[in-house]
Symmetry: C2
Subunit: 257 residues, 2 copies
């Protein structure tokens, strides 16, 4: 089978974070599939067809792109950030597993990208400088109780955390509940970083102590980072604070307050 599907991470936004591999795959593609706002980031090219779809339609989008590639075309599927982090790579492989046998013969390439938490971390300093976890707060695909359980265990483990999909219109109270739960496990001084649209023109990075973190400080375009009890803030005259989690864990210092 000669067709090919490349699942491409576009990174945080601007072209300076798009890898040369991702650029080359986009140049080579005869068709590009993706959620509309991500597709809008890809420059139009003669002879390349474009297929935008809605946010919730991952499996249908994956199936359409696979069927197109199975016809022999070079097809690209674009994701923001990295395609393997709460994005299209898993949906495409799920569709391959459930789909016609010929889809397993396709040349599938996953092209990594800069994921949101690394962009926000870079802007803030090094808040993920030690062990950390990444959790989607969406309960579209898992029960909310599982989210709560994971956050509690992650806090007890002393992980720094990155929250993807922190809020949506259908999930108005979950993020406040998550902060409440963390406040029961961690000191109120733990820094919480709200990174909105990191790497885009309207970027906004704000750090507040966990004690003051509120759900209405985030929207759908926000990636939230939560430090650990050891995370430190370095004040700088005339420049933004630096937030970092030390590499060294002091054996004499308990992980929990």
């Amino acid at each position: 089978m000669s067709g090919r599907l490349s699942v491409i991470g576009l990174g945080p936004g601007e072209a300076r974070w798009l890898t040369p591999e991702a650029s080359a795959e986009l140049d080579a593609a005869e068709a590009v599939y993706g959620y509309g706002p991500y597709l809008d980031r890809v420059p139009e090219r003669d002879g390349q067809s474009r297929h935008a779809s809605d946010n919730r339609e991952e499996i249908a989008r994956a199936g359409a792109a696979l069927a197109h590639a199975a016809g022999g075309a070079k097809v690209a599927m674009v994701s923001g950030g990295d395609p393997g982090v709460f994005a299209m790579a898993a949906a495409v492989i799920e569709a391959i597993e459930a789909g016609p046998a010929e889809w397993r013969g396709l040349d599938l390439r996953v092209v990594p990208g800069i994921t949101a938490m690394l962009m926000v971390a870079a802007r803030a300093g090094a808040p993920l400088g030690h062990d950390f976890c990444a959790v989607s707060l969406s309960d579209n695909l898992k029960p909310w109780e599982a989210v709560e359980r994971r956050l509690r265990l992650a806090a007890q483990a002393g992980f720094a955390m990155a929250f993807y999909n922190p809020v949506s219109k259908a999930r108005p109270w979950q993020l406040d509940r998550a902060f409440d739960l963390l406040r029961a496990e961690l000191p109120g001084t733990v820094p919480v970083i709200f990174g909105r649209a990191a790497g885009r023109a309207d970027e906004r990075i704000a750090t507040v102590p966990l004690a003051a973190a509120r759900g209405d400080m985030a929207d759908m375009a926000t990636c939230i980072l939560v430090g650990t009890a050891a995370t430190r803030i370095v004040a700088r005259p005339g420049r933004p604070d630096l937030v970092y989690t030390p590499r060294r864990m002091d054996a004499a210092r308990p992980e929990r307050p």
Copy 2:
């Protein structure tokens, strides 16, 4: 203060994963600091000085680069992967916090990169397709007991996992102990991916069930990914298996065996 220090992620290896931002910062630098093997990846340029140091000397390296930048130069510090993930960004900020006040006036830029776990995940399919954590197995900077505790809690939380620094000459038994510990928490069928030198010419990706995972399957250049009880393997005729962790958690399926 006019000096500048850019802490740059070189990504997994080849130039096709080096972002345009990282390339531009390297081009602009008057001096480049880093661990020797990372420095060797940066093409030499007239008028640019190079300062290689050993692996264990992070804080001394950070101090030297900061002092150089404080003299007014444009200085680059290079890391493999992403500088914020078990790499130089935290060490540099630690040195700023402990160093002379003038270092806080420097223009510090953290330039994100493709971190090892995302490269290995892309090669294997989408094993980090759901909630996951990243843990350094090195006990240079934290007690081994803390590593064990974190792995146990991460397994109980149902996180996929990425292990950085899985082995070294000074740590011969720790990785086997980690696998033993995970075998007590997770089904023996959970896929474990050994990604060696991912993104380099000598790349080698191998997947084994947790029941068969052994410490001698890894070396210092390996990033290990551990799936969850829900992680699936899709066999393909004539192509490598795809390993993915489904986006959907079945509420009826317990997280633990």
